[in-house]
């Protein structure tokens, strides 16, 4: 993946980066506050509910142990009275049963939570809805739905089942106890019934927002408070956990279960609270945080957008100025930025100014070069035609015996040949020197011994490159203006490299500058020299050129300054 800071738009990165960080921050704060507060609530609730259930368990155990104990006493009394029943007369039997009823009645009357007692025995059947104690046939208990619970034990708690009463069918929870005789045979079963609402009142928690279930030691559900019913799966689900921890809590979905199993009793109480109800307050706070967070996100984003706009505006202006740039038309950049943007703008504007200057220079240069080229072309008007024509004139002169003219013509022809032989702009200095030698030889024919000239050049310098036909105009100038009307003429060409450039000095002993100027030397010879000057400047810039100074011993001295250009450079240039 590529770095988004390098690829994506700045305002885009700016906005979404900001948004992402703020959202993340708000989310983390909200999540931490919710999870920590609900964790706190859960642990608090669990703690207090466990305590409460523990207390409830104690209270319950006291009540239920009371029932169990009194049933035990009742079964002993039953056995004693029953023995009399078996031994006595018919009347005794009636009395015994009446006494058993009366004893059991008293248990019911004395134990407010007891509703009634059912006795399954061989005693004469007597089941009246108006009575507290009912006598049922011994065999009938095997048909009761709860019989399996008591079948294998001496006593057992029987979960909710229905009995008939004078208030209709009502649900009860019962404690069943077998009655044994001295021979350890069991011959009767006493079932002590407790009305379910009464029983539930024992396990009801204050406030009653949650439901409580009561399990016996085998994990059998005895009863539960009326709210929503516990499912068997639910109870099975935590059975293993209850086995491990006598008291604890567990949360599944919306349900928060807390249980407490008392060590000294067989009862387990499970309380279920709705997680939603429990954490309602924490959720409210979280919601408030979330709202504040969202508001903060919006505010910050709004701020972000504003700030980003302010930052992006100068960049946008700069970009626009850059993309719309043309030398003719320039967008003005604001000048009230004093910071980095201000400096950026200034820098850009300076750059632009310099570019414009450069443009101007280039145009001037281009113009100059064009003119120079046109002039050079004008100079070279069909030299071959001139050269051939000269050759023919030379032959005529030879035929006519005019050896002097012939010599001049041949020198002139050579001059042309040299001028035409190389089309490149730069030629080796040796060639340039050969060219002026030709011109000097040409003049020598006319001047004979009165002309004296000398060319001084290092062997090294001969290989350097110079612009073509750059020295001839000075020499020609010397003959046309400087030696005009003189008897003899002396000319020196000295070539030497100096200070990183090539200096060519052409000195004559002619009339000197001032005299020549008065005779409008510049007007005649001016054309050739101006051409030279312009060519040098076009080729090498204004720092090169030539100057005309008076000679030390009279005459004129022309000093041409050229860059040192080695052979290879010239090749590259070609």
């Amino acid at each position: 993946m590529r770095n988004p800071f390098k690829t994506l738009r700045i305002d885009f990165v700016f906005f979404f980066g900001f948004a992402f960080i703020v959202t993340l921050l708000v989310g983390v704060v909200v999540w931490i506050s919710y999870s920590s507060s609900s964790k706190e609530i859960a642990s608090n609730t669990s703690h207090y509910q466990q305590k409460l259930l523990g207390e409830l368990n104690k209270k319950l155990t006291t009540s239920l142990v009371g029932i169990e104990q009194s049933s035990n006493t009742a079964s002993k009394n039953f056995d004693v009275t029953y023995n009399r029943f078996q031994a006595g007369t018919k009347y005794d039997k009636v009395r015994a049963q009446a006494e058993i009823r009366s004893q059991l009645n008293n248990y019911v009357f004395n134990t407010p939570i007891l509703h009634s007692i059912h006795v399954y025995s061989v005693l004469p059947l007597n089941y009246s809805l108006q009575e507290y104690v009912q006598f049922l046939p011994f065999e009938q208990m095997k048909e009761e739905t709860w019989y399996p619970l008591i079948d294998k034990t001496d006593d057992a708690w029987i979960s909710e089942h229905t009995i008939r009463t004078n208030s209709g069918d009502i649900p009860v929870i019962s404690f069943a106890r077998k009655v044994y005789n001295n021979l350890n045979q069991y011959y009767a079963l006493m079932v002590l019934n407790i009305k379910v609402p009464v029983f539930q009142a024992l396990i009801e928690t204050e406030g009653g927002r949650s439901s409580v279930a009561l399990l016996d030691e085998t994990g059998q559900l005895i009863t539960q408070t009326v709210n929503e019913a516990f499912s068997q799966e639910q109870l099975d689900g935590i059975a293993a956990e209850i086995e491990r921890n006598a008291a604890g809590s567990k949360r599944t979905g919306d349900e928060f279960l807390v249980w407490s199993k008392s060590i000294d009793s067989k009862w387990t109480l499970i309380e279920r609270t709705s997680w939603k109800d429990m954490t309602a307050s924490s959720l409210q706070i979280t919601r408030l945080f979330l709202l504040l967070g969202i508001a903060a996100i919006f505010l910050i984003l709004l701020l972000g957008v504003l700030v980003a706009r302010q930052f992006m505006k100068p960049i946008g202006l700069l970009l626009k100025a850059m993309s719309n740039y043309s030398p003719q038309k320039q967008d003005a950049l604001p000048d009230d930025y004093k910071n980095e943007f201000g400096r950026l703008f200034q820098g850009y504007q300076k750059l632009m100014q310099r570019i414009e200057e450069l443009y101007g220079n280039l145009e001037v240069q281009y113009e100059k070069r064009r003119e120079a080229e046109i002039k050079s072309l004008q100079v070279m008007i069909n030299p071959h035609f001139l050269y051939n024509s000269l050759d023919q004139v030379n032959w005529v002169a030879i035929t006519a015996g005019q050896s002097k003219i012939s010599a001049m013509l041949s020198q002139l022809g050579q001059l042309f040949r040299l001028a035409l032989s190389n089309t490149g702009r730069l030629v080796p200095l040796s060639e340039e020197l050969a060219h002026i030698e030709c011109y000097l030889q040409f003049q020598k024919v006319r001047w004979e011994d009165r002309l004296e000239y000398r060319i001084e050049a290092d062997e090294e310098a001969l290989r350097l490159r110079v612009p073509k036909i750059i020295l001839q105009p000075f020499i020609e100038n010397a003959f046309v203006h400087g030696f005009h009307g003189r008897r003899s003429a002396k000319l020196t060409v000295a070539i030497r490299p100096a200070d990183g450039h090539l200096e060519i000095a052409i000195a004559d002993d002619g009339r000197g500058l001032r005299a020549a100027a008065s005779e409008s030397r510049s007007a005649k010879g001016g054309y050739g020299l101006r051409n030279v000057k312009e060519r040098i400047e076009a080729l090498f810039g204004p720092s090169y050129g030539f100057e005309l100074v008076p000679g030390e011993t009279g005459g004129t001295r022309a000093i041409v300054r050229l860059p040192i250009i080695e052979e290879q450079t010239q090749e590259e240039d070609a």
Partner: protein
């Protein structure tokens, strides 16, 4: 005093019946009494008014009775709660057996109900122990003053009479008709009784019986002694006054009937439970005649509608039957909600809607106005009950609340007579035992008086 009001009750009943027949004079009397009554009604209503606006009150209430009474009473309680939403009830109800045993246990545990259905046999005992509250503020303007006496001890009202009932007999008319017997009536004598027994037994066969054996019930002997002209079983001083010869004669005769299979055998007798669908020997068809109070007519008729007809107790030289306040409401002296309890009792006896709901389940209502309002709407069963009482009323014997200390005497009486029923004792031996037991009661009662 007691004598006076029993006559007054009879006259009230006649009066009520006459009213029902449309005599306007008496209703004028009733309305002329009402202006005097209204101020007291408003004063007695004040606790209920203050209670109505007050904090929630849960009244505990207990009564005995048949299923019909349970149902009607519970409905009435719901009505009261609808009128007074702050008052709710926790009710306990059962048959007669064990009712006072339970109450005794509850009193000793301090958990007795706020409102208690009270029986004439126990009023004096409970008052002497200070267990009942003075409920004199209840508006009783529509109740015959002499009837009110039955709920007073030393002039203070402790038990509000709820209805009047007569004792008589019920017989299974369908069986009597099928066997082609002459039905018992409101004028039959002990001779008719014996003759009917023998005739019926002859036609019924071995495993069916004529009379449910109620010889162990003191009520039956009380009626016998009255009918033989020997007076009430307690004398004016509150001492037991069972005539030895009469008693032995009665029990001997009963034994003969038992031996002849005219009375139910002891094993059936001991399992007999009055008005229980399965255990009542007349209802379940083991026998065809038993004694019954007129306020139970509705209940027994509900079990097998149209099956039963009614008769008086047999006559000797005098009539045997009497009228009695069928039962009372008393307020527990330990109750924290006595004012609310009294307001409820006031409503219970005076409110027309309550009267309609309850009907005759506690005997003929004590308020003349309610009787007047109800009588046009009497059901068949109700009409029979009223007629039953009207038949007994003219020559009814006086009724007296059991004297102090004798509340439980009838239970011991029952045990002693049961011995005769099972042949473990002779009437003579039983009488000796009875005397001994009576001596114990008399000594205890004398000790209590000091």
């Amino acid at each position: 005093m007691a004598r006076k009001w029993s006559i007054a009750v009879a006259s009230l009943l006649v009066l009520a019946t006459v009213t029902a027949c449309g005599n306007s004079n008496n209703s004028k009397d009733a309305s002329s009494a009402s202006p005097g009554a209204s101020p007291s009604a408003s004063t007695s209503a004040s606790p209920s008014a203050s209670g109505g606006a007050g904090e929630p009150v849960k009244l505990t209430i207990a009564w005995w009775g048949s299923q019909a009474r349970h149902d009607a009473t519970q409905k009435a309680l719901e009505q009261y709660t609808a009128l007074h939403p702050n008052v709710t009830f926790e009710s306990t109800f059962s048959g007669w057996d064990g009712y006072f045993d339970k109450l005794a246990v509850q009193y000793s545990a301090g958990s007795a109900p706020d409102i208690i259905q009270m029986d004439a046999a126990y009023v004096n005992d409970y008052v002497s122990r200070g267990l009942l509250a003075d409920i004199g503020s209840i508006n009783t303007a529509d109740v015959d003053p002499s009837l009110m006496e039955s709920g007073k001890v030393n002039g203070v009202l402790y038990a509000q009479p709820l209805g009047v009932a007569a004792i008589g007999m019920v017989y299974d008319k369908t069986v009597v008709d099928k066997l082609g017997l002459k039905a018992p009536d409101f004028n039959w004598t002990w001779d008719d009784y014996y003759a009917f027994g023998q005739e019926a037994k002859a036609k019924l066969g071995n495993d069916k019986y004529v009379y449910a054996d109620q010889s162990a019930d003191l009520v039956d002997y009380t009626a016998y002694q009255y009918s033989m002209g020997k007076g009430y079983i307690y004398d004016a001083e509150g001492n037991l006054a069972i005539d030895k010869a009469t008693w032995i004669e009665y029990q001997t005769k009963q034994k003969e009937l038992r031996d002849a299979g005219i009375l139910t055998p002891p094993d059936l007798t001991t399992t007999d439970k009055e008005l229980d669908p399965q255990l009542d020997n007349v209802v379940n068809g083991n026998a065809i005649v038993r004694h019954l109070f007129s306020n139970q007519v509705g209940a027994i008729d509900a079990l097998k509608p149209g099956t039963y007809e009614y008769a008086s107790l047999p006559k000797g030289s005098e009539a045997g039957g009497w009228l009695k306040p069928s039962m009372f409401w008393s307020v527990n002296a330990q109750s924290k909600h006595q004012e609310e309890a009294k307001a409820f009792i006031d409503w219970f006896i005076n409110d027309l809607e309550a009267g309609k709901t309850l009907g005759l389940t506690r005997g003929t209502p004590v308020s003349g106005e309610i009787v007047a309002a109800l009588s046009p709407e009497y059901s068949e069963g109700d009409k029979k009950g009223v007629e039953f009482m009207n038949q007994v009323a003219p020559d009814a014997q006086k009724f007296v609340n059991d004297p102090v200390g004798y509340g439980n005497f009838k239970n011991d009486y029952k045990l002693i007579v049961e011995k005769i029923q099972f042949g473990s004792s002779t009437p003579e031996q039983a009488y000796e035992e009875l005397l001994k037991k009576a001596g114990e009661y008399a000594a205890a009662a004398a000790a209590a008086k000091k």
